[in-house]
Amino acid sequence: MGTEDYLEQARELLEDFPVVDGHNDLPWALREQVSYDLDRRDLADDQSAHLHTDIPRLRAGGVGAQFWSVYVRSDMAGDTAVSATLEQIDVVGRMIARYPDDFAAARTADDMENARRTGRIASLMGAEGGHSINNSLATLRALYALGVRYMTLTHNDNLAWADSATDEPGVGGLSPFGHEVVREMNRTGMLVDLSHVAATTMRDALATSTAPVLFSHSSARAVCDHPRNIPDDVLELLPANGGVAMATFVPKFILPEAIAWTRAADENMREHGAHPLDTTESGMRIHRAFEAVNPRPAATAATVADHLDHMREVAGIDHIGIGGDFDGTAFTPEGLQDVAGYPNLVAELLARRWSPEDLAKLTWHNAVRVVRAAEDVARVLREERGPSTATIGELDG
C-alpha cells in the first residue's frame, strides 16, 4: 500500500473511532490573542493564520473528543490562579454553547460516546497544574463541579506539595498533602494527570491512586531523554494501574536534536524580553527571526510514531493514547502542523503494521475506558468517605 492508501484507510478508521486528544491549549490562546472575545476568532472559520485549532480542521483531523486545557501560567498563585482558571473554564463553556452542532459538553464516558454517536466533538476539560486549586480541596471539588475532569498535578514549577519535572527536587515527589490531593481526586472522580510532574511524583501518585491515571501529553524518555517524558519504569506501572499515556507532539520534547536548539531559542526569547512560552504574534516573530539564522531540526509524524512504538512495547497497547498539545506549543512536527494532522499519524502507524483494532484503542477506547474507570472508582469511594477537609497546614506542617 502507498502513502495515499494508508491515509485513506486512516480517515476511514477515524470516522468510527475518532481521536480523543488529551491536551489542547486553545482556551489559553484565546485569552492571550483576543481576551476571550470569541467574535474575533470564529472557530467555524479557518483560523490557521492564528491558531492550530478550528472546527473545520478538528473535523478534518478526525477528532471526536478533546480535553481542553484550562491551563493558567504557573507563576500565577492564590486567587489570581483560581480566578484565571475559572475564566478558562468559562470560555470553554461559551465555546461549546456557541457551536452546539460541533461541540458537546462531556463530563462522563457516556457523554463521550453520545457525542461520538451524534457526530459532535466531546468537550472535556483538564486543569494544568495544582496551582489552580490554591492548596484548597474545596476548590478542587469546585473545579470538578464545573466540569473539569483531570488535573495535572504540577506545571513547570514545583508546588509546596508536588515536584515538577522541570524544577529542582523539592518535597521529593508528593508531600502528605499531595497524597491527600490524589486521594480526593480519586474520590471526586477527577483523573490524576502526571504529565509535567517529576518522576518521583509520578511514582508517588501511582502508589496512592486507586483510579487509573493519565499522562495528558507526555512521550517516552527512552526515545528522547527529556524530563517532560515518561521513564520506562513508570510506563511499566501502567498496566497494573489501568491508566493511559497520551503521546505528545511537541518537537522539543520528542526529538533529541530539538532539545539543544530549543534551549538556544528560549534563551533568545529571554534576551528579547519575551517569555519562552510566548506564542503570541510578537513572540512568534522573535522565534521566526531566530529560526531564519538557526535552522530548526524538524520532527515528523514518524518521530511521534517512534515514541508510540516504544510506549506500546513497554506499557502495552491498552495504555497509550494521543495528546497533541496544539496551541500550547510554538512549533509542531511536519505532518502534524495542526489538528487536521492526526490522520497522518494514523497512516504512519498503519504503515508500521498497527492493526485497526490497535488503532481504535489508541485513538478512542483507551481514553474512554480511563474516564469511565475514574467514575467507577469515585462512585465506590464516595460511599466510603465524605469530602476531605484536610489542609496543607495540618498535613505538611
Partner: protein
C-alpha cells in the same frame, strides 16, 4: 397567577394551625401579670395566628452566616451536630423547624483579610462547598434552591429552601467569568459592598457587573454598600435589589452612620426590591455605650420592619435574622436564635398587621424578588451574551 401556583396550601391554614397547636402559648399567658389580661389574651391568639400564617408562609431569611462560622471553627475540638441541636450556635435544625424557616440565603461572605491575602476566591469556593455539603448532609431539613420554583417546592415538602449567597463582591476577583462560575455552582446573590468597582457609586466596570448580575439572575445585595453605591445601583439594575441584612438609618442611635436612609428606601420601593430587616444588635444599635450596654429588643426590630413598610412599601420588606453565629455573641433580646421568628410575627399581629401583610413579609416579597430576577434574567439572556470585558478595559483607562 404565579402567586397562586406557589401557594397550593393556602386553604389549609386552619388545619395546619391545629397541628401546630402543640406548642400552645397558653402556659405563657397564665404566667403573665394578671393585670394585663386583655393584652395577654390578644397575644395568645396572635401567637396562634402567627403559627398558622407561618405554616403556609414560612420565613425566607436574607442572611445566615453559619457557613463562615463553621469554616472558622473547622478543626476545633467540638464537632457540630446540627440535626440533634447544637447549643454552641444560634442555628440548628430543631430550632429552624420551631422557627418556621422556609427559605434561607446562606451567606458566603469572606472577611477583608481573605481579600488582602489573595484567598477570597478560594475561600468563597470553600464556603460554597461547605454549604453544598451541609445540604447533602441534612437532606431531611435542607434542600438546594436555585430559583423561585425551588423555593415553593422545598416548602411544599417541608424543607428549608437553601439559596447560596450573598457572596462578597471582592470575592469575584474583578472577573465576570469568576462570577459566572459562582453562578454555575449555585450562587444566587452577591453583595456589592467592599468591591473596588462599587466603592463610592459604581465604576464603569461596576455598571457592567450589575448588568451581568441581571443577565445571570443573581440578586444584587446592597447591605453594607455606600449610599452612593446604593443609589447608582438602583438607577442601573433592571431586577429588584435586595438588602440582605440592614436596619433603618432613621431609627439608629447615630443617624448618618450605617443602615438604609429613607430616600433610598423610597427608591427601593420604586425598584420593587426588598429590604430584609436585620436582627443583629450591632446593626440596630451602633453605639452600645449610649444604651448602657443594653441589647436591643424584639420591639425595636418590629419598629424597623414597620419603618421599611411605611417608607419602601409593604411589598418591599422582609426579615433577616443574621443568625449563624455562636450563641455567646450578642443577640437581640427575644430573638436569640432561629426558633424566634414566630415571636416577632406575634408582635406585628399585636400591632395590627393583617394576614396578607404578614405573609408578604415572611414569604411573598422574597419569593417575588426571586421570581422577578429569574424572569428578567431569562429575557436578558435573549438580548445579551456573557460579558467578557475586564476591569482594566473599563476602569483603568480612565484613571
Amino acid at each position: 397567577m404565579a402567586d397562586l401556583q406557589d401557594d397550593p396550601y393556602d386553604t389549609d391554614t386552619t388545619a395546619a394551625a391545629g397541628d401546630l397547636d402543640a406548642t400552645s402559648p397558653r402556659p405563657a399567658a397564665e404566667s403573665a401579670a394578671p393585670t394585663d389580661t386583655a393584652s395577654v389574651a390578644t397575644s395568645a391568639s396572635s401567637a396562634e395566628r402567627a403559627r398558622a400564617l407561618l405554616s403556609s408562609h414560612p420565613v425566607v431569611d436574607g442572611h445566615n452566616c453559619l457557613a463562615p462560622t463553621l469554616l472558622r471553627r473547622r478543626g476545633a475540638s467540638h464537632s457540630h451536630d446540627l440535626e440533634q441541636g447544637d447549643s454552641f450556635l444560634d442555628t440548628d435544625m430543631p430550632r429552624i423547624k420551631a422557627g418556621a424557616l422556609g427559605g434561607q440565603f446562606w451567606s458566603l461572605e469572606v472577611d477583608a483579610d481573605e481579600v488582602r491575602t489573595g484567598r477570597a476566591v478560594s475561600t468563597t469556593l470553600e464556603l460554597i462547598d461547605l454549604v453544598r455539603d451541609l445540604i447533602a448532609s441534612y437532606p431531611e431539613s435542607l434542600r438546594m434552591a436555585l430559583g423561585a420554583g425551588d423555593l415553593a417546592d422545598a416548602r411544599n415538602c417541608g424543607r428549608v429552601a437553601s439559596l447560596l449567597g450573598p457572596v462578597s463582591g471582592p470575592a469575584m476577583g474583578d472577573s465576570l467569568a469568576t462570577l459566572r462560575a459562582f453562578h454555575l455552582l449555585g450562587v444566587r446573590a452577591l453583595a456589592l459592598a467592599g468591591a473596588r468597582w462599587a466603592d463610592d457609586g459604581l465604576s464603569r466596570f461596576g455598571h457592567e457587573v450589575v448588568r451581568e448580575l441581571n443577565r445571570l439572575g443573581v440578586v444584587i445585595d446592597l447591605s453594607g454598600a455606600s449610599d452612593e453605591t446604593m443609589r447608582a445601583t438602583l438607577a442601573v439594575t433592571k431586577a429588584p435589589a435586595m438588602f440582605s441584612h440592614s436596619a433603618v438609618r432613621a431609627l439608629g442611635d447615630r443617624p448618618g452612620d450605617g443602615g438604609v436612609p429613607d430616600d433610598i428606601l423610597t427608591l427601593l420601593g420604586a425598584n420593587n426590591g426588598i429590604c430584609m430587616v436585620s436582627f443583629a444588635p450591632d446593626q440596630l444599635t451602633r453605639d452600645p455605650a449610649a444604651r448602657d450596654g443594653k441589647s436591643p429588643s424584639l420591639t425595636e426590630v418590629a419598629d424597623h420592619v414597620e419603618r421599611v413598610r411605611d417608607v419602601a412599601g409593604p411589598a418591599c420588606v422582609g426579615l433577616s435574622g443574621t443568625y449563624g453565629r455562636e450563641s455567646d455573641t450578642p443577640h437581640t433580646v427575644g430573638l436569640e436564635d432561629t426558633s424566634c421568628y414566630p415571636r416577632l410575627i406575634t408582635e406585628l399581629l399585636d400591632r395590627g398587621w393583617d394576614d396578607t401583610a404578614v405573609t408578604d413579609l415572611t414569604w411573598g416579597n422574597a419569593a417575588r424578588v426571586l421570581r422577578d430576577t429569574e424572569f428578567l434574567a431569562r429575557a436578558a439572556q435573549q438580548r445579551r451574551s456573557p460579558s467578557t470585558v475586564t476591569i482594566e478595559e473599563l476602569d483603568d483607562a480612565r484613571r
